[in-house]
């Protein structure tokens, strides 16, 4: 569909691809969750592509998508698939290989 941040001159450290199934409330919620996490933890270090698998089904096969939504972390290695609506932030961060700063009080639930 469209791209998120990635304004930095050098290639972004985090290449992310989010697969959603249409514009369901769950898809909306997932995008919001991801945007917020990226803003807080990966400010300028990521490049996000959002794919609607209804629109581009061939990409689902190419990237081995089974569940929806699926967030694919292509870089840095290792490859990770983070499935679900990304509401469990701690697990999302673990999946992305980011560990929140100790005693980090800046990520309360919204």
């Amino acid at each position: 569909m469209s791209t998120g941040g990635a304004e930095g001159p050098d290639p972004a450290e985090y290449q992310l691809r989010l697969f959603i199934a249409g514009t369901s409330p769950r898809s909306q919620r997932t995008i919001e969750n991801l945007r917020r996490i990226c803003r807080q933890h990966l400010a300028d270090r990521h490049n996000l592509v959002i794919v609607d698998i209804y629109q581009q089904p061939e990409l689902a096969e190419a990237d081995q998508v089974v569940a929806a939504p699926t967030l694919l972390k292509l870089t840095p290695e290792p490859l990770r698939r983070i499935i679900g609506d990304l509401s469990d932030e701690a697990r999302v961060l673990r999946g992305l290989g980011i560990f929140p700063p100790l005693g980090g009080g800046d990520d309360p639930r919204i």
Binding site: P57, A60, A68, R81, G84, R91, G95
Partner: protein
């Protein structure tokens, strides 16, 4: 009638798997998912692939193979051994293969999700090639990759409903679980048709079996059917037909041994008869069956020989010693040998293999040599043989079974319970006497025809088989040299008798002559006596005449003196 009605009410998609479509009266339920389950290595994937490949090549129904375990390349390589060109079919758009990889270590679950990705992939593949068939092999792998079983279950339920809505004929494979058919109880969701594959090892021999656990809305065979996987694909053997309604033939075929044919009233065997030739080692069972083969092939009929103890080459060579050239029949394609060690497969497998070979070759004569080589639990053995005979009879094939008996007795154990199944039973027996062994043959039974009740001695030579009437007399049955000696003795006695009677005849003639001579002599002396008598009488008359004349003279003289 019923099957027609069933077919009408429930459309079926043929699998093209030999026998399976017969057992299910037409195939899998069309437009619905079916579950094929079984333990590891029992042939689920192969079954499913065959279903797809046959759909694409035989029935013009493209198919999607969604593999959760094997990669597309591996899959193609695996089924290449069956002669399926999966890659070629993929290229021509007949089959689409999608490998769904779910790697637990890569996955982090962070909230609600569903399996829409899977649906879309499947839907996309189906639309791309306009598929009518779908295989999901083995979808339960998802349970290993994803932890939310509740979501998976509801999604699978949705998936099966989706398949049904789209009218796709699907096979879902499942690994056999503890106490249930599949690990995750998929049979609860797939309710239309469940096929269970099984691979059992008994006495170190594996037999594959297939059973239709349920088939909603359709009649189906309920037995466990053996099936076979080899280089020619999968074949299921539908076993015994329940009834014994085969067509019978009144045509008579030769056994190949002229003098043996003569022992049967019509001058041979009925076409389609099952013939048992039993005898101990070296009595000539194979030689007789070789004659039958030769006769059939010479008539231009196809002939198939299943041999369990020798190779086809060996039988050809041995047959040459009795003047038969079986090799030329092999060359013309009329004769086919199928040699296999009895222990190579289980009984069921042998039967399945024979069934398939017979279906392909369509012989009119089948020889099984020897049937006694097949070993197994007695009950199973008998059932297998029964079905074998049944199968051959149903096709009107003349079958010759040879059976080795380890002793010369009439024992029950020797005939494998076969005798009652057989139409004709020819028994060969060695008779040992006078330090030699000779072969004898008799027909114990021949259904529906009169047959000789005599024991014949049979001789094998380079000119072929020949039956000789054995000597049966007050001293018993004599064969071999004893028969020859006895025959010589009888001949001598006959000669003696002949000579005696001639001598007696000569005596009579001689006596008659001498009597006649005596009669002649007597008659001669009678004549002499008669002559003498006449002579004497004449003298008497002459004397009387003289006396009277003298008296007259005297009287005259006396009167003259007076």
């Amino acid at each position: 009638m019923t099957s027609e009605r069933t077919t009408a009410s429930l459309p079926k998609a043929r699998t093209g798997i030999d026998g399976f479509d017969d057992v299910t009266f037409g195939g899998l339920p069309a437009g619905r998912p079916s579950l094929v389950c079984g333990s590891a290595g029992c042939g689920k994937t192969l079954f499913a692939t065959t279903f797809l490949v046959n759909g694409a090549t035989l029935f013009d129904e493209p198919g999607v193979f969604m593999s959760f375990e094997e990669r597309a390349e591996d899959l193609a390589a695996n089924v290449a051994s069956l002669g399926y060109d999966l890659n070629g079919l993929v290229e021509t758009g007949k089959i689409a293969v999608d490998h769904v990889k779910v790697e637990r270590s890569e996955i982090e679950e962070t909230g609600e999700y569903d399996l829409e990705g899977l649906f879309i992939r499947l839907g996309y593949a189906v639309d791309t090639i306009k598929a009518k068939r779908v295989v999901l092999d083995t979808i339960e792998t998802l349970f290993a990759g994803l932890s939310d079983a509740a979501v998976l279950r509801s999604e699978l339920r949705r998936l099966f409903a989706w398949l049904k809505d789209r009218g796709l004929t699907a096979i879902i494979t499942g690994e056999r679980g503890e106490g249930q058919l599949t690990r995750q109880g998929l049979e609860e969701y797939v309710s239309d048709c469940v096929v269970l594959l099984d691979n059992r090892v008994e006495d170190q021999i594996t037999t594959r079996r297939l059973r239709i656990v349920k088939y909603r809305g359709s009649a189906h065979g309920t037995n466990e059917y053996p099936f076979l996987i080899d280089e020619q694909g999968i074949s299921v053997l539908p076993v015994t037909a329940a009834d014994l309604s085969y067509d019978v033939s009144n045509e008579v075929v030769s056994t190949g041994v002229e003098s043996l044919d003569a022992m049967f009233g019509p001058g041979g065997l009925f076409q389609g008869a099952s013939v048992l030739i039993s005898g101990s080692a070296g009595t000539g069972k194979t030689t007789i069956s070789s004659h039958t083969i030769d006769a059939a092939c010479t008539r231009g009929e196809r002939c198939m020989s299943f041999v369990f103890e020798e190779s086809g080459e060996q039988i050809c060579r041995n047959a040459r010693s009795v003047g038969l050239d079986l090799h030329r029949h092999v060359d013309t394609g009329l004769l086919r040998f199928e040699a296999a060690r009895p222990s190579l497969y289980g009984l069921e497998m042998h039967l399945a293999r024979m069934h398939r070979d017979i279906e392909q070759f369509r012989p009119s004569v089948v020889v099984i040599d020897p049937i006694s080589a097949l070993r197994g639990p007695e009950v199973e053995l008998q059932a297998t043989l029964l079905r074998m005979v049944d199968m051959l009879k149903a096709r009107g094939i003349t079958a010759v079974f040879t059976s080795l008996r380890t002793d010369g007795a009439f024992g029950q154990s020797g005939d494998l319970g076969l005798s009652s199944l057989m139409d004709v039973w020819i028994k060969l027996q060695d008779i040992e006497a006078n330090g030699e062994r000779s072969r004898t043959l008799y027909v114990i039974k021949a259904r529906g025809m009169s047959h000789s009740n005599q024991v014949r001695e049979f001789q094998m030579s380079s000119a072929g088989l020949k039956l000789v009437d054995a000597y049966i007399g007050p001293a018993g049955v004599l064969t071999g040299t004893a028969r020859i000696v006895q025959e010589a003795q009888e001949e001598a006695a006959a000669l003696r008798r002949r000579q005696d009677s001639e001598r007696r005849k000569r005596d009579v003639v001689r006596r008659r002559l001498s009597i006649e001579r005596q009669i002649a002599e007597l008659r001669a002396s009678l004549e002499t006596a008669e002559e003498e008598e006449t002579l004497l009488l004449d003298e008497d008359v002459a004397r009387e005449t003289l006396l009277s004349s003298e008296r007259t003279d005297i009287a005259r003289r006396r009167s003259a003196a007076e």
